[in-house]
């Protein structure tokens, strides 16, 4: 078991670094960014941009460093200055690690066109220069740097923290509800296979799990917000986690913006859509795994022994049917934090998924990458937890 865990942890570290590299190369390849903004200012004539301005901006976003150095600084905050062991420099502190102002070579072609090419370097950045900079602790240690567009110069981790409670609230409640409702439905459908209840539930869950959440979300707003309001019925407000001004709802009265009632009303729809989707998927899953188990010999044996039906189902069948369900639940962990981008966008819910969409819409790729990185790590942890849980719920499985 210990050897297994150690091996898995090493694997997780490797995959984490690989996915960080993937994310970083995407970031690096993405055009746009702060320099484009500066260029636009120059083009529109708002401000004269000097070489110094560019160098300062580059230094701020570390764009003046060579790619490998930039990557290790981003990943683990290394090197943060001259590399020393016991006061002795391992590498000379004047080692060049980047270029603050590139040299420009003006090429004049015979046909009269002029091309300016960057070649060589006018001012280098050395290892010693790095000591004066604000160094992030590296994303491996939870420091994702500064947001560039969405909230200028605020640390990304702050930004994530303001969104996290909303996502955990939404995903946590809907996951819990889906388990509490979906699992019994699945069990009952399996026990009463081909009953009217089973047919109805199979139909509903089939449709529920095949419809895109986008469609369900929009339809929910259409029916419960727009049409209900038009018909003068009590309706559910949509959009955001809390209202801006007070509003009236028939039969309920005036709702104070920001009150608990307001928040609850706005929470109902996104939560219901996510819950419905999960109920549909999970009850189908539980049903088929229950049906599988109910056919087993040990269930027949239990019945033959005269064990009461309730005990057969809960003690003998359900415990075994839940084993594969555990793996499914491991997939929930990343969504608890990363949220549901589509549902959150449809309902304007200020969670992580919505943040991802907003960040991408404004080309703030560092924020997007932070969210991607966190959810990848959570996926890995989810896999590990599900493997360990497997041995807990099923003693026959040994990890080696």
């Amino acid at each position: 078991m210990t050897a297994y865990l150690v091996r898995r942890l090493i694997q997780i570290v490797i995959v984490t670094i690989l996915s960080a590299m993937l994310g970083y190369s995407l970031l690096y390849l993405a055009p746009g960014g702060p320099l484009l903004f500066l260029q636009q200012m120059q083009n529109t004539g708002q401000r004269r941009v000097t070489e110094e301005d560019i160098a300062r901006l580059k230094a701020r976003y570390e764009l003046d460093l060579y790619l490998p150095i930039r990557f290790t600084r981003w990943l683990a905050g290394f090197p943060a200055g001259p590399i020393q062991v016991g006061g002795v420099n391992l590498i000379p502190p004047d080692t060049v690690v980047g270029c603050a102002i590139p040299g420009q070579v003006r090429l004049r072609y015979p046909d009269g066109t002029v091309e300016i090419r960057e070649e060589g370097c006018v001012r280098d950045v050395t290892l010693a220069d790095l000591a004066e900079r604000r160094t992030s602790r590296g994303i491996l240690f939870g420091d994702f740097g500064l947001s560039q567009q969405i909230a200028r110069d605020r640390p990304i981790s702050d930004l994530l923290m303001t969104r996290l409670p909303y996502t955990i609230q939404l995903m946590g409640v809907s996951t819990l509800l889906a388990i509490l409702i979906g699992v019994p439905i699945g069990i009952y459908s399996a026990v009463r296979q081909y009953s009217r209840f089973d047919y109805a539930m199979t139909g509903i869950t089939f449709v529920g799990s095949s419809l895109p959440t986008l469609f369900m979300g929009v339809m929910a707003i259409l029916i419960f917000s727009v049409l209900a309001k038009d018909a003068g019925l009590p309706y559910l407000p949509s959009g955001g986690a809390q209202g801006i001004r007070n509003y009236d709802i028939p039969w309920i009265g005036t709702v104070q913006a920001g009150s608990t009632l307001d928040r609850t009303l706005r929470f109902i729809m996104p939560c219901a859509v996510l819950t419905f989707f999960n109920i549909a998927a999970w009850s189908r899953f539980i049903r088929s795994s229950m049906l599988e188990v109910l056919r087993q010999d040990y269930v027949r044996t239990a019945r033959a022994k005269g064990v009461r039906e309730r005990a057969v189902i809960t003690k003998h069948a359900l415990r075994n049917a839940l084993i594969p369900f555990v793996t499914l639940l491991a997939g929930v962990l990343p969504t608890l934090v990363a949220g549901a981008a589509i549902t959150e966008s449809v309902f304007n819910w200020p969670g992580m998924g919505r943040l991802l969409v907003d960040a991408l819409g404004r080309s703030d790729y560092t924020v997007a990458m932070a969210i991607l990185f966190i959810s990848t790590v959570l996926v890995l942890i989810g896999y590990l937890i599900s493997d360990i849980l497997y041995t807990v719920v099923d003693p026959r499985i040994r990890l080696a």
């Binding site: 995959v15 690989l18 996915s19 993937l22 995407l26 390849l29 993405a30 055009p31 746009g32 089939f206 449709v207 095949s210 419809l211 895109p212 986008l214 469609f215 929009v218 339809m219 707003i221 259409l222 917000s225 727009v226 049409l227 038009d230 990343p334 990363a338 981008a341 589509i342 966008s345 449809v346 991802l356 969409v357 991408l360 819409g361 080309s363 790729y365 997007a368 990458m369 969210i371 991607l372 959810s375 990848t376 996926v379 890995l380 896999y383």
Partner: protein
Amino acid sequence: MATTTSTPAAPGAIERLQPRSEGQWTVVFRRFRRHRLAMASLAILIIIFTASILAPWIAPFPRDDIGLNRTRLPPMSADPVTGQLHILGTDHLGRDFFTRVIYAARVSLMVAISVTTLVAIIGTILGLLAGFFGGWVDNTISRIMEFVATIPDLPILLILSAIMIQNADLIVLPSWIIGPVAWIMAVPNREATQVALLILVLASLGWVGVGRLMRGMVLQVREMQYIESARALGGSNVWILIKHVFPNAFPPLIVAFTLGLNGALVSEVAISFLGFGVQDPTPTWGNMMGFATSYMFNHPWMPLIPGLPIFLCSLAFNFIGDGLRDALDPRLKL
């Protein structure tokens, strides 16, 4: 599962002596026909697909015909100037909804079909190779599949397509990609770049499912006796792969293909809805939905117009997948 019956027997004297037998696909189709919902779905899909193919001919208006004096007309209303009928009304720029919906069907369905086809090809080849050859080939491919499967789908899809689409002007795709895409989607060449980019993004991440499925199937089939006898007959690896392994690993691929169509359609719709996919004026059901939802509070029918085709196609793909799964499962008595 029949081994080689999928190839039609050559007509000849020998065949006439044998009792009349049904080919595998006749049986499958007969079984499939019993699934009423799947047949109805197939009919609906064929109608939508035909309409999308005929879009340039049956569309009553030009695709991007903006008219600011006729914005957001309800369905079945007449044009205020010409008196022509807008069957499904008009959008926020006064463009005819019916025209745009069928052009959008072309883009959305064709994106789904091209993505799924690409995914099936890449996934099948890699899955077959991994499963059949084992060893370092399997190791390499399996590790890549594991890695891609670890990255959460939707965030990486959104990030990739956002980066690609927002800088679509900077990316130059070869004309042998742009040309066919523009032709299939019935869009001008300059709009085809973003559609092609979206297809590439969706396909580059989607193949893992098919790859795993095919690998698993091959691992099962590889141990069968007919493979051993094919080997004993002196069959080469390539011949065995194409002639014996692939046909037997094929049925689950069809089901995966149908469900994959739904997955690709829904992904395209979601990405375009959020604004990182195909951009207006190229219509897709996703970006039409995106615009329609911003007007839904005063014009509640608007999201239904792109919404219903999404709903119908999504359900239809799932029903057909379900019907095919049942029809292809020889253990299931229908």
